[in-house]
Symmetry: C2
Subunit: 248 residues, 2 copies
């Protein structure tokens, strides 16, 4: 794994990993100090620091600002599809994210406007690259932790001048508004990638090292099969447990 490291280094990594994965040192627990571990194994503190850095890169531990290293928590916000996107919910005025995080969530930094269509957006919405598209950009925090970024794109011929372009889209949100103007979504496709975050995503979500993200790109289709919205969501991979249920 890490060629050129000493046997002691390897043993420290393996021992710490084992006591974390076995639950002996539970989520949120503080690791012993670097000096204490160094003394126990008879190695320089630098060796211990490098071993802990490897565990951090693996997403197992996190250094806290005020000092100390802690076993990371997997938050497991459940996100159940297709239930959360059922038309009964948004046609009934509910907010989609309430299915996952009601009363625990804040929507922050919401901005709306028009922007030249990036290539991948243009292709999906069927407009020429660089032509204007409407966008809605927001950031979500749950229990005071940033967990998700989301940017929706819609054709301007649909969204311009509607409440979709307000920061508050009203009861039932964008999909309820699309329904009112004859573009009710009847089908969704969510494309998923697991990848490391970009520097901008790391900053906006305040992600510790060793945190992959889910990149989810949802296409919403109306009755005619036209893609009326694309939503690109970036989710903290340590915060969510996604599930998808479907018949055989």
């Amino acid at each position: 794994m890490t060629p050129g490291r000493s046997a002691s280094y390897r043993r420290i990594v393996d021992d710490l990993r084992r006591i974390i994965e076995s639950g002996e040192l539970g989520e949120g627990s503080k690791l012993p100090g670097v000096r204490e571990i160094a003394t126990r194994y008879g190695v320089p503190t630098g060796t211990v620091s490098r071993a802990i850095a490897e565990l951090a890169a693996a997403g197992l531990v996190q250094a806290k600002r005020r000092g100390g290293t802690y076993v990371r928590r997997f938050a497991a916000i459940p996100r159940s599809s297709p239930g959360r996107l059922a038309k009964e919910r948004w046609l009934g005025g509910e907010t989609i994210q309430d299915a996952d995080t009601k009363d625990r969530r804040r929507e922050l930094n919401t901005s709306t406007g028009e922007t030249p269509a990036p290539d991948w957006v243009a292709a999906a919405l069927g407009v020429a690259a660089g032509e204007p598209v409407a966008f809605r950009d927001r950031r979500y925090a749950v229990d005071e932790r940033f967990v998700q970024l989301a940017t929706s794109y819609l054709p301007v011929d649909i969204a311009r001048g509607t409440q979709i372009m307000h920061t508050d889209t009203g009861p039932g949100g964008t999909y309820a508004r699309l329904a009112e103007i004859g573009h009710r979504p009847v089908r969704f496709t969510e494309y998923l990638r697991a990848r490391m975050p970009s520097p901008e995503e790391t900053d906006r979500l305040e992600l510790p090292v060793g945190t992959p993200v889910f990149e989810i790109t949802r296409h919403a289709f109306n009755e005619e099969g036209r893609c009326v919205e694309i939503n690109r969501m970036i989710l903290d991979g340590m915060a969510y447990l996604l599930d998808y249920s479907f018949p055989a």
Copy 2:
């Protein structure tokens, strides 16, 4: 992001990231040599090596055994649900993975047997922890690259003595065999996490640093709502593009 690094270090990381993300240096392209970059920016080669290590941890580049650093490829094996798991496919004798990777895939290291149920398996299958459960373990390579590990667990009262316990489960695989003995799956739920791999997963999939995995845990339910199989899959996050389609 990386406190204490020099402005030159930061500039090298940012410049390389930009030419990779813009496509100026495409997937599979070789980066300029460390010495060449060091000369261009007027910094020690160690600074360049650390900058490239940061890009590797971000999953953007990969050092090759024979020397040189290359822009990583995102393979994007499409994995479309629920279509790939439609009963018409496996009842018709097709292999599920053929929906994604027909003719490009090899199944390797397949083993079967019985094992004491891990807690999470016991809970889902409704048996006591530590009681025996049947398992099927396999590893998949696509185009000579390891892309997936999969371990299925089934209750012994269902699987024992059936072809499900053979390394080759026959046409249509496990689900077709379950159907023949009165346990046809009628519904699936897939639970998804994005996380960094364990050392064992890193070894078995030969993952470069900076590669997160999808952990997918599928529950298969029969007509009575009993969970008749759990499949824990570990997918190279740089190899797959998952999609889930469903009605509103």
